[in-house]
């Protein structure tokens, strides 16, 4: 049996969660105060997921804030960054629009979280 300790990143409460493992098998998950904490730890044990927020170079040349619509594998963060930084829009970016449909082959789109200043 092995214990692994996590600080949940799903919300600002930052629950300290302990997972007890028997080889690959999860024996117990304790310390979480909601269901999402359990899910978080299960993901951490198999494929840690993170939401990526960054900027793209906007049509005007100035940065525009973007995010992945959902979490993507942590292991793909830098590959995703390279793709985002190579992206150039063909017109001014609008709040909420999808800029890249499938970011770094994750199946997750990249969306704008701000509009370019007019």
């Amino acid at each position: 049996m092995k214990e692994k300790h996590y600080t949940c990143i799903i919300c600002p409460s930052g629950c300290e969660i302990t997972a007890v493992l028997d080889g690959e098998k999860i024996v117990s998950i304790t310390g979480n105060t909601c269901k999402r904490g359990e899910e978080y730890v299960k993901n951490e044990l198999t494929c840690p997921m993170r939401t990526l927020t960054t900027t793209v170079c906007g049509f005007s040349g100035r940065p525009v804030a973007v995010r992945t619509a959902d979490a993507i594998p942590k292991a793909k963060l830098f590959e995703a960054m390279a793709e985002v930084n190579a992206f150039r829009p063909s017109r001014p970016v609008r709040f909420g629009e999808t800029l890249i449909a499938d970011l770094a082959a994750t199946g997750v789109p990249l969306i704008a979280t701000a509009s370019e200043e007019e």
Binding site: C11, P12, R50, T51, T53, T54, C57, P63, T113, A114
Partner: protein, 411 residues
């Protein structure tokens, strides 16, 4: 002189939420004065997620959170003057505005102060050494990257483990910089636990607790910093010096409420919060002058800023209409283990939500309000940390002589 029922100084999250609440309380001539070209305040550069979980039940980025309130303001047709600076407010609520159009005075029925806070600069730290380029506050670096589009450096040391420093460490790493270490003077971090996890641990950035920068090197540009361990009195320990070869030093060493206008008004500041003292309506000692958000006390979550601003906005509207409830007040004292409370005054016989911060890090504690030696409300917490604001709902007794918020270990 022009008149407005409610004038709000600052168009950040506090100002926007206060304006919406004032409007919804029945005042139609609300004016927001904002010095930047756009509303949204610091949220515009906080492109990371983590905002809105309490308020909207989902995780938004800073610009998305700001947009929700900006949209509410637009929908109500609330007047916003951007590119305009407030240079003075009098106790009679005459507000002086300065913009490209010139200087103008407006008489306000009620004023809401929502100027936010500023970062503590290098000058406040007295770090010995030279004065090269390459030293920024973490928020300045964040603005350079996310708004201006510049990466401030390649090899980075961060002093202070506040949330902005942690967030910027991740941001710079994602953009290709190498963050060598985050140094924290205290034996614990003031940042949220989740940020230490997802901003530092995710990228193997070391967090050096009880460490500080003891010398800055470099003539034109920063060439490195010396980092030392500190003892329990926060004094550097000789012989523990380590040199870090870096071109950038970021400071994330605290935020200070921006109260220049408040002080000009003649309002004394609470030394522990750095803001004015207020009652449950977030009204200051000057009738009709309200304060909310980071100008009142530095928050860790914008969700609480919005909530506080709604109280202030609603009360400001009531004051402007001559309908603000009054009552006999009782001072709230921050007792054992509590650094401060907001509000600092409550009304007798009412239920008040009292926000507070702990003085220190500890585990398994109970927080309670005590009136004349009797505990009123008890809340158990697994973890107490100064970086995480908490609240306690208290029914304020009609006749007690005092009210103190205290902490003790769980029995």
């Amino acid at each position: 002189m022009k008149e407005r029922s409610v004038l709000i100084v600052g168009g950040g999250p506090a100002g926007l939420a206060a304006a919406v609440a004032a409007y919804d309380a029945g005042v139609r001539d609300v004016l927001i004065v904002e010095r930047d070209s756009r509303v949204g305040g610091i949220l515009k550069q906080c492109i990371h997620p983590g905002f809105g979980l309490h308020r909207f039940g989902c995780e938004l980025t800073g610009p998305e959170y700001a947009e929700r309130y900006a949209e509410e303001v637009r929908r109500r047709g609330i007047e916003v003057r951007t590119g305009t600076f407030v240079t003075g407010v009098t106790p009679e609520r005459v507000v002086t505005l300065q913009s490209r159009e010139g200087i103008e005075e407006i008489r306000a029925g009620a004023v809401v102060l929502a100027m936010g806070c500023r970062e503590r600069p290098r000058g406040a730290l007295n770090i010995p050494g030279t004065r090269p380029a390459g030293i920024y506050t973490a928020g300045t670096a964040q603005r350079l990257i996310n708004v201006e589009g510049y990466l401030p450096g390649r090899r980075v040391v961060i002093l202070g483990s506040g949330d902005i420093g942690l967030i910027t460490a991740r941001r710079m790493t994602l953009e290709g910089a190498k963050v060598l270490a985050v140094c924290e003077l205290l034996p614990y971090s003031g940042g949220l636990a989740r940020n230490i996890e997802q901003c530092l641990n995710d990228f193997d950035i070391p967090l050096l607790l009880s460490h500080t920068v003891t010398e800055i090197h470099g003539k034109e540009r920063l060439t490195g910093v010396t980092v030392s361990s500190v003892d329990e009195n926060r004094r550097p320990i000789p012989g523990t010096e380590r040199f870090f070869d870096c071109d950038t030093l970021l400071l994330s060493v605290g935020l200070i409420p921006e109260n220049e206008l408040t002080e000009k008004l003649g309002l004394p500041l609470d030394r522990r919060t750095g803001g004015a003292a207020v009652d449950t309506d977030r009204q200051t000692a000057i009738p009709g002058v309200f304060a909310c958000g980071n100008v009142l006390h530095v928050h860790d979550l914008v969700d609480y800023v919005s909530g506080e601003a709604e109280l202030a906005g609603k009360a400001a509207a009531a004051f402007a209409k001559g309908e603000l409830a009054a009552g006999e007040e009782l001072a709230v004292t921050a007792g054992a283990g509590i650094r401060y409370t907001v509000p600092q005054r409550v009304r007798r016989g009412e239920t008040a939500e009292i926000y507070f911060r702990f003085s220190d890090v500890s585990r398994k504690v109970e927080v309670y309000a005590e009136a004349d030696g009797t505990p009123l409300a008890v809340k158990k917490l697994l973890r107490a940390a100064p970086g995480e604001m908490q609240k306690l709902k208290v029914s304020v007794p009609a006749d007690s002589a005092n009210l103190t918020i205290k902490m003790r270990p769980q029995a």
